[in-house]
């Protein structure tokens, strides 16, 4: 059975400026051992999606659609039932390791808490297990660290503790919301490697949320690029980065300065300008009726503004595969079946990219 199946998940926030649709019709599935990345800029709805899965939305928020964990819709669960899911079957790692741990409790106590809650372990057993977990996440001198308070640890170590805590009950699904954004690159690499290896070893599923295309590209099997609360492009990571299809994904990629580009410039050539996406992210409270990216898109037509574009396969129907791709200049073999983008001008967008 499919581990997680999210169907038309929408989250509406009651803000001062009126209802804001923070998440719009997110749909995806996830199997054990699979990793999914949600990538997008601030306010695109990626964190709200995570909180909706956890049932930890702010009080002013309403979720609709379905979040099915092995067939059971979590949105219909009572608060008490949800408490048995959280930390047990779905666990989460947050962005700020400095503030996400209770300053007044020892590390061991905080890791053991979920164990005694869900596994009904006694104090001694919970501590023994906590010690093992600290070793699993690679904290040196774990026995001593068990009795430490968070302020005695570095940022990277705290994030390891957070991961140990999330893993404590052997969850089926791990949600990591910007787990390395607050960390230095060298620490980021260690933490990402750790998470990747643990997910592999333990065979759980993972949703990794990040604003950083690089982090996403190196860490997950499949990606949803989010904009204005919804998915604008989704597919296997390799396919997406190989065939950036949605104008927003293309714009995001082009706007990112990439390491090693300077050496490729011709000597004496004037600095290349970065491509930019004009305009700003729209307010969630008054999103346009049609494509949320329309106002910043170079390819916009009236059609875009009329209705939200559906997610359509980037791979054209089998019948006209050759003719459809000839103009875009993409070898048909590379097109993957489950690569989708929500754009009515997909062909133009891809053609534009290839001609550039």
């Amino acid at each position: 059975m499919t581990l997680l199946s999210v169907e038309n998940l929408s989250v509406t926030l009651n803000t001062m400026g009126g209802p804001a649709r923070a998440v719009r019709d997110m749909t995806f599935t996830l199997e054990r051992g699979e990793t999914l990345g949600l990538v997008g800029e601030s306010g695109c709805g990626k964190s709200m999606t995570a909180l909706a899965l956890m049932g930890l939305l702010p009080e002013t928020a309403r979720a609709s659609g379905a979040v099915r964990l092995e067939g059971e819709n979590l949105l219909e669960y009572s608060e008490a039932a949800m408490c048995r899911v959280r930390g047990n079957r779905i666990a989460m790692v947050f962005q700020e390791p400095m503030t996400s741990l209770n300053p007044l409790h020892t590390v061991g106590h905080q890791i053991g808490e979920a164990l005694s809650l869900h596994r009904k372990l006694g104090r001694g057993e919970a501590q023994k297990e906590a010690l093992r977990l600290l070793e699993v996440v690679g904290i040196p001198d774990a026995g001593k660290r068990l009795g430490n308070y968070p302020h005695q640890l570095s940022g990277g170590q705290r994030q390891r503790v957070m991961i140990a805590m999330a893993l404590s009950c052997g969850p089926d699904l791990l949600i990591a919301d910007e787990p390395t954004t607050a960390l230095d690159v060298t620490i980021q690499k260690q933490i990402l490697d750790l998470i990747r290896n643990l997910v592999n070893d333990l065979g759980m599923a993972m949703i990794l949320i990040s604003h950083d295309l690089g982090v996403i590209a190196q860490s997950v099997d499949r990606v949803h690029v989010m904009y204005g609360g919804g998915t604008v492009e989704s597919g296997p990571t390799a396919a997406i980065f190989e065939h950036l299809s949605h104008p927003y994904t293309q714009g995001l990629f082009a706007a990112m300065p990439k390491l090693g580009q300077r050496a490729k410039r011709k000597d004496g050539a004037k600095r290349q300008r970065l491509n930019t996406i004009p305009g700003v992210v729209p307010e969630l409270a008054d999103l346009p009726a049609g494509c949320t990216f329309a106002e910043r898109c170079g390819l916009v037509t009236d059609e875009c503004r009329a209705a939200p574009p559906p997610l359509t396969s980037v791979a054209p129907p089998a019948g006209n595969a050759s003719s459809g791709n000839a103009s875009a200049g993409i070898a048909p073999a590379r097109i993957v079946e489950d690569h989708f983008a929500a754009c009515v001008h997909l062909d133009e967008a891809r053609a534009r990219l290839n001609s550039a």
């Binding site: 690499k189 990439k258 300077r262």
Partner: protein, 274 residues
């Protein structure tokens, strides 16, 4: 203003000699000496007019302290900072104030670096007001000029910072730095709080301004890609020291120091589309 050389690199604008900065932490124990932090531990470099000098390093490596020391906002424990051959820590307070028109700063946080109680016109005019008496007409004219240079409109003068997005606020901060037509702008993590699409707009703006006004940048960042993109020269800092220093191409394509290599290796990369 000094005339730059033909290829944009001329005389030396800033020179830093063996800069040290130690902080004393609160005592942890009654009987042991208070611990000290060596934020800067012997840093030397120089920046030439019209060039972009980048400083990269991880948090706590001393790069922000260095930026503030160059700006004369932090008195070094030892060492010298020379701006056009004036030692900014040795000259008098008034002289330093007059010298300040030549170097301005752009900060990281586009929400914290603008006084929420002041209108944009006043914020941008501040460095000018602090240094000289100008007629209100001239003041107005120069504020508008600065606003337009960063792609904002004259009417934005009468708005408050909270009416702008993060990217626009960073433009306002840059306009403030431009108002005295400085030779040097020290930018401490100017884009790290911005989303990628907005970051690109600001980076392009910095580049355009350099072409237009021949301004020299000292750019502090933890983001290697940003530094590589903007800077002609890079210094890599670790634990209060510059461990490697040289032309950008060389540092990024052929790093010599172990730490630089570790840093470069750690950056997650996206394979460019084929």
């Amino acid at each position: 203003m000094t005339q730059p050389g033909a290829n944009g690199g001329g005389e030396t604008l800033v020179e830093v000699f063996d800069l040290h900065k130690h902080y004393t932490l609160p005592k942890e124990s009654l009987f042991r000496a208070a611990p000290r932090v060596f934020a800067l531990n012997g840093v030397s470099f120089s920046i030439k007019t019209g060039r972009s000098f980048g400083v990269v390093g991880e948090s706590g490596c001393g790069k922000s302290t260095l930026a503030r020391a160059v700006m004369g906002l932090e008195t070094p424990t030892s060492g010298r900072v020379l701006f056009r051959e004036h030692d900014i820590n040795a000259i008098g307070r008034e002289e330093l104030r007059q010298l300040r028109r030549n170097f301005q700063m752009v900060f990281q946080d586009p929400f914290g670096s603008l006084d929420p109680r002041q209108k944009v016109g006043r914020i941008i005019g501040e460095p000018m007001d602090a240094l000289e008496r100008v007629s209100s007409d001239e003041r107005q004219g120069r504020v508008v000029e600065a606003l337009e240079a960063v792609g904002l409109k004259a009417i934005d003068m009468d708005k408050y910072p909270h009416e702008f997005s993060g990217g626009q606020r960073q433009r306002i901060a840059i306009a403030r730095a431009l108002i005295t037509r400085p030779a040097l702008i020290v930018a401490d993590e100017p884009v790290s709080a911005l989303d990628v699409s907005v970051q690109a707009q600001v980076l392009n703006l910095l580049q355009d301004l350099q072409d237009e006004f021949n301004v020299t940048y000292m750019l502090i960042s933890h983001d290697l890609a940003v530094v590589e993109y903007v800077c002609d020269e890079v210094a890599v800092m670790s634990e209060g020291k510059i461990v490697e220093h040289g032309p950008t191409e060389q540092i990024f394509s052929d790093p010599q120091h172990e730490y630089t290599r570790t840093l470069l290796d750690a950056v997650p990369q996206v394979a460019p589309p084929r």
